[in-house]
């Protein structure tokens, strides 16, 4: 720890360059969202005008509300559907389980564009007019597999006697579900929900193919606006990325701190 070896210094520089490669472009976009002029290369002075523009842009604000509301609804429904499926999977016949898990893996492994055109053909064949509803259905459909992949492994590790124990002590199957199973699965469910939310919120490819009637989410708006330089997009980008960045930090770091605290208090109690 006393001296940094030369190889360590070299490592730090290399890792720094890779992180710069990841984050610098994003940082630059964020930086120019506060530019007073339209230029994306010369910073002429600090201003919030692009943020004001953003709020008054009805088209963008509509897309923001579509993105948020679809992400919320899709997360809720996918989490419920994924959780009850995961619980059921651990109890059903082996053939059904393996078949369902394999089918469930298809949207995760398949290229997004193939999944997307699959939905598009499905909705067209059923003559469902494309718009908000089709986007929501598609989002639920591609988020649920991710919820299952984060909840099912947790279900698998549970002692199968836990539910029996609850029933034995007088709980009805429903009480056993929400008093015993759900609390034990909450970490997996939360991880699944978070994954579902970000997947839905960030999605472009699938939304692009299943939407219609002028319904757009943030990704579609950005896609349509990339042709012209538009600092309003920088402002939007700054807000969205900051929120996701902070959420990730909180989600990953808070449990770490909490665990550390708990350990400390435990030590205090013992000593």
């Amino acid at each position: 720890m006393k001296k940094l070896s030369t190889s360590k210094i070299f490592y730090c520089i290399y890792i720094g360059i890779i992180f710069a490669f990841f984050y610098l472009p994003i940082a630059v976009t964020m930086f120019f969202s506060f530019n007073s002029s339209k230029s994306l290369t010369h910073f002429t002075g600090f201003s919030m005008r692009w943020y004001v523009n953003l709020i008054s842009d009805n088209e963008i604000m509509a897309a923001v509300s579509v993105s948020i509301s679809i992400a919320i609804f899709a997360t809720i429904i996918a989490t419920i559907l994924g959780t009850i499926t995961s619980i059921g999977l651990s109890k059903c016949k082996k053939i059904v389980r393996e078949l369902l898990l394999n089918v469930n893996n298809v949207p995760i492994m398949n290229p997004e564009i193939v999944t997307a055109i699959g939905f598009m053909i499905l909705f067209s064949s059923l003559r469902i007019s494309k718009g908000y509803m089709t986007m929501l259905l598609a989002h639920i459909a591609f988020c649920t597999p991710y919820v299952i992949t984060s909840v099912y492994p947790k279900v698998k590790t549970l002692d199968p006697n836990l539910v029996d124990a609850a029933l034995d002590l007088g709980a009805t199957p429903f009480q056993a579900l929400y008093k015993v199973l759900l609390p034990m699965l909450k970490e997996g469910i939360f991880a699944g929900a978070l994954l579902a939310f970000t997947m839905s919120f960030d999605d472009f490819v699938i939304s692009y193919f299943v939407t219609g009637n002028g319904v757009s989410n943030i990704s579609i708006i950005v896609y349509n606006m990339t042709k012209r330089t538009n600092p309003t997009i920088n402002a939007l980008s700054t807000i969205v990325i900051s929120i996701i960045f902070l959420t990730m930090l909180v989600v990953k770091i808070v449990p770490y701190i909490v665990r550390k605290r708990r350990k400390e208090t435990l030590h205090e109690k013992i000593s």
Binding site: I15, L100, N110, P111, I117, G118, F119, D202, Y223, I244
Partner: protein
């Protein structure tokens, strides 16, 4: 516990409707020739024959090329990164990994958009070149910009599996290698690299598959000029309206990818399922 087995019911119906049927529809369109309407469709392999057209062969070979270049670059940049991360203190490693993971959670469109403003002809990159007294270069809407975008996007997918493999390695193995007379290079090539091979394989195949099916990055950073498989599929469905041909390409892409991944899963000892 028998009470809960029927809870799979809803998802069996749901996945049939939203996973199995769409896939079957793609297959149906790929092997028929009736255009958009399925009423007067009949079995046909025309769509698959159409692929032999030089125009489309170029797209296939270009996608393949882009996939190879992206994978090679990701490996060359990602392996040292993964290796170096394992050399840090155990408390620092999770933080470095977290910062490698975060880009994966950030909206792809916004990250790609950021690259546009840097790489475009009057963007920051050329401005900096100008300040250094160098002539501006045209990167935007070329293979270079597409590759930069792809590498930036897929690099974490290369770093993470390699890191996972490396971090599982018992440091005593390295000591044993030195003890048995290996020098640093020998110890690396014969012990460390061999140990990380499952992660490398995982990362390489994942990156390659994602790169050949990429759609947004080549579209935004390559402009109309740079058509890859994903863009070809989009064209067929959105602009051309030839669903049969579009489905045929999707079908090939899906089959190749699903088979490769299930093969990868079978040989990967790290995967429990």
């Amino acid at each position: 516990m028998k009470h809960f087995k029927h809870m799979t019911g809803p998802y069996i119906l749901w996945s049939a409707a939203f996973i199995v049927i769409p896939f079957l529809l793609i297959i149906l369109y790929a092997f028929t020739d009736g255009g958009l309407s399925l009423m007067d469709a009949s079995f046909s392999l025309d769509s698959f024959q159409e692929i032999i057209d030089p125009l489309y062969v170029t797209v296939f070979s270009r996608s393949f090329q882009v996939g190879l270049i992206t994978t090679a670059l990701c490996f060359l940049l990602g392996y040292p990164m993964a290796y170096m991360i394992t050399k840090f203190d155990e408390k620092v490693q999770p933080i470095l990994i977290l910062f490698t993971t975060i880009p994966m959670w950030i909206n792809l469109l916004l990250r790609t958009y950021a690259w546009i403003s840097i790489l475009s002809d009057n963007g920051i990159f050329n401005m900096l070149l100008g300040k250094l007294g160098l002539a501006p270069v045209s990167i935007m809407y070329t293979g270079i910009s597409v590759n930069i975008g792809l590498v930036c996007n897929f690099l974490p997918f290369m770093i993470l599996p390699i890191y996972t493999s490396l971090s599982k390695m018992d440091p005593a193995l390295l000591e044993a290698a030195y003890d048995l007379g290996a020098n640093k290079l020998q110890a690396f090539t014969r012990v460390v690299f061999k140990y990380s091979l499952p992660g490398v394989l995982n990362g390489v195949i994942l990156t390659f598959l994602m790169a050949i099916s990429a759609f947004v990055i080549p579209k935004l950073l390559g402009g109309g000029q740079y058509t890859l498989l994903g863009n070809l599929i989009e064209n067929q469905f959105i602009s051309v309206g030839n669903w049969n041909f579009g489905s045929a390409i999707s079908f090939i892409l899906a089959v190749v990818i699903l088979f490769t991944i299930s093969f990868l899963k079978r040989i990967d000892p790290d995967d429990e399922d």
